[in-house]
């Protein structure tokens, strides 16, 4: 369609490419909608429980109960004091859902960051060196792809969960607790302590991160491989730009698009995996909660207290939809050819 490309070739002329990405993203209504949802969930998870407690005086260990027909009742349906009802121990579900949200979101982000680091390093190495190194490295990825990794993760979590976590994980957890407590004492909040639950969460980051880098490695390697032979890299080489300059000025900015998009899409898939493990009782464990573990608890009482599943499930589903919408929006924004007609 020669005539078409030429007449509209003026689009966004004079604007930087980055501005183009942002403006395309802003024009994508589902993606903007997703961003708002995600922002709301994040804000609610970050300060929701504190604000809610301050407003109502209810804290997460507050347990109301009443006696009906001679039986002790602790599961209350949604009401003004308990917007999402209470769980079967009588704890406020609104608090639990957004406290769980912190863990779910953190697991998603941390595991994605781990998979990002491994994937980019591995893929870039393979793509940059090419040849035999690339062949061997990618063959290994192909093999790992064929492994039923969720089964392996199930085995890993059941073996190394809690206090059985490897020492390295324990040390990182302790360092994290130390830093957090330093910050907490500045803010005047009560300190947290290391526990098997915390070890479990940190091992979860590692377990999920270590199995979800494969696709990232493939994407990065493919990008690097094709970019390496692009004319503009050759042009840069021909005017004497150093390898360092080529990697940081040309390769990294050009692969950042697909990498950001895929990293965004890794977060929801990792969160799903976390929920899956928590559902099996192998993920986040008491006293901590995540959307997955809350939903798993809710399933037990599905017939009697359906809100105990519906609210954690709903908030989690909405967050995942939002993340997927944002990921799709970013992909379209980075690569306008991919979906727009």
């Amino acid at each position: 369609m020669s005539s078409k490309t030429n007449t509209n070739g003026t689009e966004a002329s004079g604007l930087t490419p980055r501005y183009g990405i942002w403006s395309r993203f802003k024009r994508n209504r589902p993606a903007v909608f997703g961003s708002w949802i995600l922002a709301i969930v994040i804000v609610l998870s970050a300060i929701g429980p504190a604000v809610f407690g301050w407003l109502t005086g209810i804290s997460s260990d507050y347990i109301p109960s009443s006696v009906e027909n001679g039986a002790l009742v602790r599961s209350f349906p949604p009401s003004l004091t308990h917007p999402m009802g209470t769980d079967d121990l009588g704890r406020d579900l609104f608090l639990r859902v957004f406290e769980g949200g912190r863990i779910s979101i953190l697991v998603g982000i941390f595991a994605s960051v781990i998979s990002l680091l491994i994937g980019v390093a591995y893929g870039a190495t393979a793509g940059f060196f090419g040849g035999r190194i690339d062949g061997v490295m990618m063959r290994i990825v192909d093999m790992l792809f064929a492994i039923p990794y969720l089964l392996i993760v199930v085995v890993m979590m059941s073996l190394f969960g809690g206090n059985n976590a490897p020492d390295a994980v324990k040390q990182v957890t302790e360092a994290f607790v130390f830093l957090t407590n330093a910050l907490m004492s500045l803010a005047g909040a009560s300190p947290i302590s290391t526990s098997s639950g915390l070890f479990q969460i940190f091992f979860l980051f590692v377990a999920l991160g270590s199995v979800s880098w494969l696709t990232m490695a493939r994407i990065v390697r493919g990008q690097v491989l094709s970019l390496k032979n692009e004319e503009f890299i050759l042009a840069a080489r021909s005017i004497g730009v150093s390898t360092f300059g080529i990697v940081f000025r040309h390769l990294i900015p050009n692969i950042s698009g697909p990498v950001i998009v895929y990293a965004t899409l890794t977060i929801p898939s990792v969160m799903l995996a976390e929920a899956f493990l928590s559902f099996l009782g192998l993920g986040v464990q008491a006293p901590y909660s995540s959307w997955g573990s809350l939903a798993a608890d809710g399933i037990k009482n599905i017939a009697v207290y359906p809100w105990q599943l519906v609210f954690p499930g709903l908030v989690m589903g909405m967050t995942l939809v939002a993340l997927n919408l944002i990921g799709d929006g970013l992909r379209d924004a980075f690569d306008p050819k991919s979906s727009k007609s």
């Binding site: 369609m1 020669s2 005539s3 078409k4 490309t5 007449t7 509209n8």
Partner: protein, 335 residues
């Protein structure tokens, strides 16, 4: 060339096509009229983006979703193609009017064997059964010069070279013996030697099937070799239309002249001496007046304000320029 009768095969009248964009709709083809006579080859020539491909695609209703025909008639066998229903135009496509495309590498389905792609057409339009279609397909492939056609008919497109694939495209296009062949830059994607072979093939096969051709190209050499008449397009409009010999002898539009001047002539001078039309072909800036005015060396105030009409300068030779007559006569005085 061949005996040119006056019977008109296709008559395009005032065709206007616009494309929908984020910024609004743009007219890509503007009030284009021409006719194709029986047995002739009409060239449509112009820079990329001038609307020549869109013109041809509109004839078969193959515009992409963003494009629409705003007005105009395309009379073929007494019917207006623009008004035909989806079903009716389908019966015309491939059987009466066939088309070959620019890039033979992507125009054939990569996952279907050649046999399927040829047989499908004749089974659909000519009611052949599987065996007849296959027999016919082999004959067509032999005709377009595919060696070992009988064996290679079940091969896939990727097993053929670019030139071979364009031959296969031609075989598909001609297999229903269409009255009109639309060729959209059929050789642009091919190397020079293959180009010549493909053009020769089109030139020899068309008389055989009594097929008229509309040949879209940006290459004036091909125009000179292949066409009986030629239309020069710029900015979605026809600026000049004439018999090919007339056009080359007496170009009557400054744009045509500029085009002819910018063809490299190996016998003269160095590349620096090659004539360039000043400016770039940005059609979107011209809202009224002559589209070529911003780049034209003899443009005057009137050119920027008032769109010139297509004016007849001699028998069958029209030019869209305020100075068409003068331009025409200036050639006469030279010779």
């Amino acid at each position: 060339m061949s005996d040119v009768t006056t019977k008109t095969i296709l008559e395009v009248l005032g065709l206007t096509v616009s494309f929908e964009q984020a910024t609004g709709s743009t007219k890509v083809v503007n009030d284009v009229s021409f006719e194709v006579l029986e047995g002739e080859t009409l060239g449509i020539v112009g820079e990329s983006g001038c609307g020549k491909t869109v013109t041809v695609l509109s004839i078969l209703g193959l515009l992409p979703e963003t494009g629409t025909i705003d007005s105009g008639k395309m009379i073929f066998e007494g019917r207006d193609l623009a008004k035909l229903s989806v079903e009716e135009i389908r019966k015309v496509r491939g059987s009466k009017i066939a088309m070959i495309f620019q890039d033979p590498l992507s125009a054939l389905h990569p996952l279907l064997p050649i046999s399927t792609q040829i047989c499908e057409v004749t089974m659909l339009h000519r009611g052949f059964n599987r065996d007849e279609a296959r027999l016919h397909a082999v004959r067509m492939l032999e005709l377009v010069g595919i060696p070992d056609a009988e064996k290679r008919i079940d091969a896939y497109p990727h097993e053929f070279s670019g030139g071979m694939r364009q031959r296969i495209m031609i075989a598909i296009a001609l297999s229903c013996e269409p009255t009109l062949l639309l060729a959209d830059e059929p050789t642009t994607a091919l190397d020079v030697t293959t180009q010549a072979q493909i053009l020769n093939l089109i030139r020899t096969l068309n008389p055989k099937f009594k097929t008229s051709t509309v040949l879209v190209t940006h290459d004036l050499g091909i125009v000179a070799q292949m066409t009986d008449r030629v239309a020069v397009m710029y900015g979605g409009r026809i600026l000049e239309i004439a018999k090919t010999s007339d056009l080359f002898r007496a170009p009557s539009n400054p744009y045509t002249k500029a085009l002819l001047k910018s063809v490299p002539d190996p016998s003269v001078g160095r590349i620096e001496d090659l004539y360039q039309i000043p400016g770039t072909a940005d059609f979107s800036v011209v809202t009224h007046g002559c589209a070529f005015a911003p780049r034209c060396n003899r443009a005057e105030q009137s050119c920027r304000e008032e769109l010139p009409e297509l004016e007849q300068v001699s028998e069958g030779h029209y030019s869209r320029c305020h100075f068409a007559k003068e331009e025409y006569l200036s050639n006469q005085s030279k010779h």
